[in-house]
Amino acid sequence: MNRRMDPTLVSLAAALPVLLVLGYALPDWLTFYLQVSLASGLAALAVMLQMRAGLVNFGQGLYYCLGAYAGGMSGHFLGITDALVLLLLAVVLSVAVSFIVGFLVARYREIFYAMLSLALSMILYGLLVRAEALGSTDGFNLPSTTFLGYAPEGQALREAGYVFTCIVALAIAAAVHRYLRSPLGAIGEAVRENELRVEYLGASPRYVVHLIYVMAAAIAGIGGVLAGISVGHVDPNLAYWTTSGQFVFIALLSGTGNVAAPLIGAFLLVMIRVYAVEYSPYTWQMILGGVMLLIIMFLPGGLWSLTRLRKKGGLT
């Protein structure tokens, strides 16, 4: 049977060689921003996943930070440096915490969901700030990462980290895309539309929200560990409310129409900020605010809505 290839999956697959070529062609500072953007873009993707189910999480930094600290502490205290193992540990910790916390969070919707998420992330921030063993507000540095026994140094380490980040980010985006097109993903959208009908069709909206919360946590945790690997340092600011706000900003800027949107949006945000600081060092926040204002007023579906690739309600 001749099956039509999924354009999003094809695009994500095609993006990998493009990103790898860019990694070698672009100056180091830009490659670094690209790498960090892919990491934070995953946290924004986690926010987007929840927005597709009608939930806004203002505390996604909780799991971004947990993932980063899981990787960081494993390297710093246990001497574990393999990127895949760090990734796995970040996922395990994020899933374990979100599974337990999810029993509480999944009971709430709208502003209560958003604020409860925010409160939880600020609790983690408060705990980390007071944890002197973890460097308090300064955080701590990570040892050099290894990749399945390969232990690069210097420029090779940066390049390996970049390649690893690209592969993981695109693989996660592809998996999320598959999920969104699955029955479970569709039911997530149905929960946003009408929980009562979902319940009377025989499914549990709370279970669906709980599951989405855990999946989002795992994705943000992976983003966090990739950020730690990219920067080589973790600190409590990863859980601070402004970090979480940035993920929501990216999701709104880029839109929820496609899994690639938050990854692109994260890079756009970084670039807007870089140039805003460059040309207007004292009013760059105003420029960011202006961009958000324009998006909300003229492109409420985010930048991705410009592509018009996703027809309204286009699950199928």
Partner: protein, 259 residues
């Protein structure tokens, strides 16, 4: 004929208001039963108790041998009772096909699948069959929220039938539908439900609809069933004529709203 639904001694109070007082109602397999009564008489409360939205203060509700009291709505659905609502409960931003596909995915246990696609050929053809039965095929790719009220009602009921219920409870299937459309909508949905062999219990204020489609009528008044039997007999019962049916529907105190 065997009773598939048995409600015995149901009581439900909301503070000083009694929504159900010793309600006893059995529904035989294959019956089409109408629940009539003024607003606040206890019809929707009864439907809500059977479908798990409300828990009765006392009494038993059984579907076959299954005790339904204490079950969540989704568990009642899985047990074999589905329902529609006074206001159609659909997924407004999704297409008609997607609405039915989601219902099908849940009904077939595919809701736990986060990897295989929703748009499986076998699911699409099954959904299209449902759309045909409910005369919704022409709206297949329309966004559900843009549909006319009557079409939304049909979609709401079509989605509920996908789970292959033994008993379907329709809460005012013609409310909000124009006089011109109501018989067409009822013909379509009754024909589709008959094809599927579903027992039907519907709440209705419109006596023309009741007379035309119900074989049996249960009349509610003040949380009690004051008459239950053959439609032709119940509709001429003196108590029913006094409290429920007159020249037009009797509404105590002119109060509106659900019960």
């Amino acid at each position: 004929m065997t009773a598939i639904l048995r409600s015995e001694g149901l009581h439900k109070r909301f503070g000083a208001v009694s929504a159900a007082t010793d309600v006893n109602l059995s529904v035989e397999e294959g019956e089409i039963v109408a629940l009539i009564g003024a607003n606040g008489a206890g019809k929707t409360s009864y439907v809500n108790m059977v479908t798990g939205y409300l828990r009765p203060d006392a009494g038993r509700i059984r579907l076959g041998e299954t005790d339904l009291v204490g079950m969540k709505p989704r568990q009642v659905t899985r047990a074999g009772i589905c329902r529609s609502f006074q206001v159609a409960q659909i997924f407004g931003e999704l297409t008609v096909l997607e609405n039915v596909l989601i219902a099908l995915a849940i009904a077939r246990g595919g809701a736990s699948s986060g990897w295989r696609g929703l748009s499986r050929p076998e699911w699409i053809s099954a959904s299209e069959e449902v759309l045909e039965q409910f005369q919704l095929a022409e709206h297949r790719d329309a966004t559900a929220g843009t549909l006319a009220q009557g079409v939304r009602k049909l979609l709401d009921i079509a989605m509920a039938t996908v789970a292959s219920p033994r008993l379907m409870m329709l809460d005012e299937p013609t409310s909000g539908i124009s006089v011109d459309e109501k018989f067409a909508v009822m013909d379509t949905l009754m024909s589709a439900l008959r094809q599927r062999g579903v027992t039907v219990l519907f709440v209705e204020h419109d006596m023309e609809i009741v007379e035309r489609y119900a074989r049996r009528v249960a009349a509610f008044y003040d949380g009690r069933i004051i008459a239950d039997g053959d439609a032709a007999e119940v509709l001429v019962d003196p108590d029913v004529r006094q409290y429920v049916v007159g020249g037009e529907l009797h509404r105590r105190g002119g109060q509106g709203g659900g019960e």
